[in-house]
């Protein structure tokens, strides 16, 4: 009986250690995946865009990246407390107005932010493209986002294209990478 108890204790201890190792490995793999995306884009590859499903900031349902398949997607990570985002927002809205009828969708992901602050920001800058809320920042790990704003481009086939733009995106970058995203099918 004592031997059986000892065996159970040993198995429990081994399980706990295995669980901790698995958790550590998963964390490393997630970080590596995010690093891998940037490296793959630099090599000219088009890796699959990490999936997500997030609530709309306005509170009317949720949006998944998979549901946007078939369109070129401009993914912009931002927050209301981010100063450069204020400079970038009018440019994004203007580009959205130019491209919205050409099979392109802009998606703003508001990260680590108060919903109320983000709604005021959207109102102040007159943003009309879909804005999703990611208060916990669940997407930034998958994409390896290290600061705001940051912009990624997803082709019609759901793969990332072009480059990862850290800091306010320029018109020339928007034009070039949207063209590439539309070409991916």
């Amino acid at each position: 009986m004592a031997r059986r108890g000892k065996l159970i204790l040993q198995m429990a201890a081994v399980s706990v250690v295995a669980l901790l190792i698995a958790l550590f490995a998963w964390q490393l793999a997630t970080k590596e995946q995010a690093r891998g995306l940037t490296a793959a884009l630099k090599r000219g590859e088009t890796p699959p865009a990490p999936a997500f499903t997030l609530d709309r900031l306005a509170g009317d349902g949720e949006v998944s990246l998979a549901s946007l398949r078939g369109k070129a997607v401009v993914l912009n990570f931002w927050a209301s407390w981010c100063e450069p985002c204020k400079e970038e927002s009018p440019r994004l809205e203007s580009a959205w107005q130019r491209y919205r009828d050409q099979g392109v969708i802009f998606v703003g992901i508001d990260v680590n932010d108060f919903r109320g602050d983000a709604r005021k920001f959207v109102e102040r800058y007159g943003l009309t493209y879909p804005i999703l809320h990611d208060g916990q920042g669940s997407t930034i790990g998958r994409y390896g986002v290290t600061g705001f704003p940051e912009t990624w481009f997803v082709g019609r086939n759901g793969n990332l294209v072009g480059a990862r733009i850290q800091g306010p995106v320029k018109d020339s970058e928007l034009n070039e990478y949207i063209r590439r995203a539309l070409a991916e099918s």
């Binding site: 204790l9 100063e83 680590n112 932010d113 108060f114 919903r115 602050d117 916990q136 920042g137 669940s138």
Partner: protein, 156 residues
């Protein structure tokens, strides 16, 4: 005995009364080390990042509105998820995070107690000969003496 009881009651009051006050009428300092800044992953009292400053302002606003500590924490969790709390809530799956260290400490203490007892009682002053490693009867002191005598005779 009565004196000891009074001391225990006073000690309990010292611990419980401020905790109750902090729950009903929290200060920024009460919450500053219990809330995590989501971008810098330190508690907000150690951060001056834009979101940490905004969170401090939010906490001040809610304190001014008369919210309790739990209400403020709930509102922060609704915005940023449970990761915003420095310590996991004592409910649901998170309860494991509180219970496992206690269970671990308990198991560790029990194992130590058992080992200590074995060490204390398991070693007799003059150990009786146990079974030998080959499974046969152990050598007795008498047999040991006879072997020594035989070996001495053989050497001579």
């Amino acid at each position: 005995m009565r004196r000891a009881l009074v001391l225990v009651l006073v000690a309990a009051a010292v611990v419980v009364v401020p905790a109750y006050g902090s729950e009903e009428h929290p200060t920024l300092a009460d919450l500053g080390n219990e809330v995590i800044c989501p971008t810098c992953h330190t508690t907000i009292d150690q951060s001056s990042s834009p979101i940490a400053l905004r969170m401090k302002a939010f906490i001040r606003e809610r304190i001014g509105a008369g919210d309790t500590k739990s209400e403020i924490k709930d509102k922060l969790v609704a915005q940023f998820g449970e990761g915003v709390l420095a310590a996991p809530p004592k409910s649901g799956f998170n309860l494991l995070a509180w219970l496992l260290p206690l269970v671990g400490a308990g198991v560790g203490a029990a194992v130590l107690a058992v080992l200590a007892r074995r060490w204390r009682h398991g070693k007799p002053e003059s150990p009786e000969p146990g079974p030998s490693s080959n499974g046969r009867a152990a050598i007795t002191p008498d047999l040991d003496r006879r072997v020594d005598e035989e070996l001495a005779r053989f050497d001579a």
